[in-house]
Symmetry: C2
Subunit: 356 residues, 2 copies
């Protein structure tokens, strides 16, 4: 098959450790399936601030633009938390999403068998929970005009939330398509009883829904959704929502599965290009100790294979290998019941490769 | 004692039924403590739309303005859901908050002993959960400019989120004061890594924190807070946040206690005036059947006594009476394990009055 270019961005904290294992998995699939990957490495986030004075250096962005897909570890850490806006890792994250046109964030929230008891929810409530949050990623209050001004009541801050029909339509269509491949139920989340952007959102969903007549649509207000995720998580299939609500709800959904250390995510644009990353953060507290869990990042490779390259067989092989290693009882510290038996990052990566 | 004027707004759905029981409790305290209440009744919400063509008639607003406190049942229902904005119950709710200057919404989330098992969270996680969300109620994206316009990409909708230092300072000070009377821990929730309003919020919290040196302050990002509420609910004491985040997080917090049918809330402004209402909605599906649970509304009276009138003794008497009735095993349908033994709205009200 043709050579695929993958931009690899290790980032901060445990990012480099977990990405190293995912790269080993990539290489193993080259051997097994004859794939050819050209990996390029770039600086991004806190480390880029330290070494280049900007969280998103131009050459890293160019590297991503020239790639077929991006594999990202994690960015951020307390070291940069008090920096000014331009010198913060998050600014790089927002910048890369916008620059690469990654308007859709796909966040599966599933319960891993071996982590059934890790959730704070009762097992009978969690039973069967398997949902995907489709979050709009390049619009809304994240990217609207922001400023300070003097008002009659002292200093004032302003954020602007803007959505146009084109932006809404493309993300909603994508969510409908995701739903069509699953249980065909779509929950569109908004605050249409208060926000004008939500009213346009809801009108747009209703306008295009007839084109996806096999999908059952439910409108859920965001406050109610925060409650229903707790009360009946397994009743959701695909949830589609705008940027800010998606940020909150996708984290709530991930946490209630108890499996947050194992979840991968994809950020997609038009076409097949995508950026893949684990849902967990840079975990600066355990960075550099070789004890972090590489599974979410390895599963991000599987997601990349499925969604960007169409390498379905290899995606399934990776997922099965992960499952087999877990079934055999191997655990990193974060998911081990008996911490004294926990294995390290590299050992976990090696076991998964061996199981492939 | 002097005569206290209470504006009573029954509203829609089960509102009139539950308010009727709360009024019986008010009258009982007149007998027991010699209080004098002057009750005035007003139309509001859906019923006001039907009878007056507006969700918030001017005379209802005047009645509230002349009162010492407002007791509200619930508003809304599917009947009015597709109305235009001016003819929706929610518009009345936002209008009354703004007109009465109710900038602070106090939402306790506690676990009732008799409902320990009603939560979807594991009992050991829930153990000791007793928190209050202090939500800013008259600012932010709820009240900023909203409009549609034609853009290069088609129709566009805009919502504006505005906060000035004065608005932030008054709600944050109130939260600090609430925390001082409790466990002295305050979590301020924002999205300071993205929003300008959040950065002004955080600066303001940090600026005034030294004046409340006995309170320990933690800044939590809203997405992280949605997770931490699930992971460690009992570690929170007071949470203070802006309007939209507060809407989402207070509902999440209420739901995780499993006690949502029992929770009361207060909306406060400057001075002692307040609007008190149950957290649950108008429950149109069971309205008119006499089976709804009046306890949250009765506990709203206790909250009114404590926060607006300073009738601490009577507040405690009401709360104790509720506890005793529940301890004796009496349940309305929503909280009954054995539904066949459930009692009705009036019977529950009568038992609580008898227990006083
Ligand atoms: C770091 C932050 C800007 C970012 C966001 O809010 O989008 C993060 O929370 C995420 O969800 O990827
Ligand atoms: C009905 C709606 C406008 C309202 C709000 O969002 O404030 C409600 O959800 C609430 O929390 O009281």
């Amino acid at each position: 098959p043709e050579i695929k270019k993958i931009a690899v961005i290790a980032g901060d904290g445990i990012g480099p450790e977990v990405v190293a294992e995912a790269v080993k998995v990539l290489k193993r699939t080259e051997e097994l399936f004859g794939y050819q990957f050209e990996l390029e490495h770039g600086l991004f986030g806190g480390i880029a601030i330290d070494e280049r004075g900007t969280p998103l250096p131009q050459d890293t962005l160019e590297m991503c633009r020239n790639a077929d897909a991006v594999l990202l570890g994690a960015v951020g850490g307390p070291k940069w938390d008090n920096n000014s806006k331009e010198l913060r890792p998050e600014t790089g994250l927002l910048g890369i999403r916008k620059a690469l046109g990654l308007f859709s964030n796909i966040r599966p929230a599933v319960v891993f068998d071996c982590l059934k008891d890790a959730s704070t929810l009762k097992p009978e409530v969690l039973e069967g929970t398997d949902l995907i949050v489709v979050r709009e990623l390049t619009g809304g209050i994240y990217f609207g005009e922001k400023f300070r001004r003097e008002g009659a009541q002292g200093e004032e801050a302003v954020d602007t939330c803007v959505y146009n029909v084109t932006e809404i339509e493309r993300i909603v269509r994508q969510a409908f398509e995701v739903a069509q491949k699953r249980s065909k139920r779509l929950a569109s989340v908004d605050k249409a009883n208060v926000l004008e952007t939500s009213r346009l959102w809801r009108e747009t969903v209703n306008r295009i829904a007839p084109e996806y007549a096999d999908v059952e649509v439910e409108h859920v207000l965001v406050d109610n959704c925060a409650m229903q995720l707790l009360r009946r998580p397994s009743s959701f299939d695909v949830i589609v929502t705008e940027n800010m609500f998606g940020d909150i709800l996708s984290d709530e959904a991930a946490m209630l599965t108890g499996s947050i250390g194992m979840l991968s995510s994809a950020s997609l644009g038009e076409g097949s290009f995508g950026l893949y990353e684990p849902v967990h953060g840079s975990a600066p507290d355990i960075a550099g100790q070789g004890i972090s869990n590489p599974i979410a990042t390895i599963l991000s490779v599987a997601l990349m294979f499925r969604l960007t390259f169409g390498y379905e067989e290899a995606a399934t092989l990776i997922e099965t290998a992960v499952k087999n290693v877990l079934d055999a009882g191997h655990r990193t510290g974060d998911i081990a019941v008996d911490k004294s038996k926990a294995i390290g990052t590299t050992a976990m990566g090696d076991l998964i490769i061996a199981a492939m």
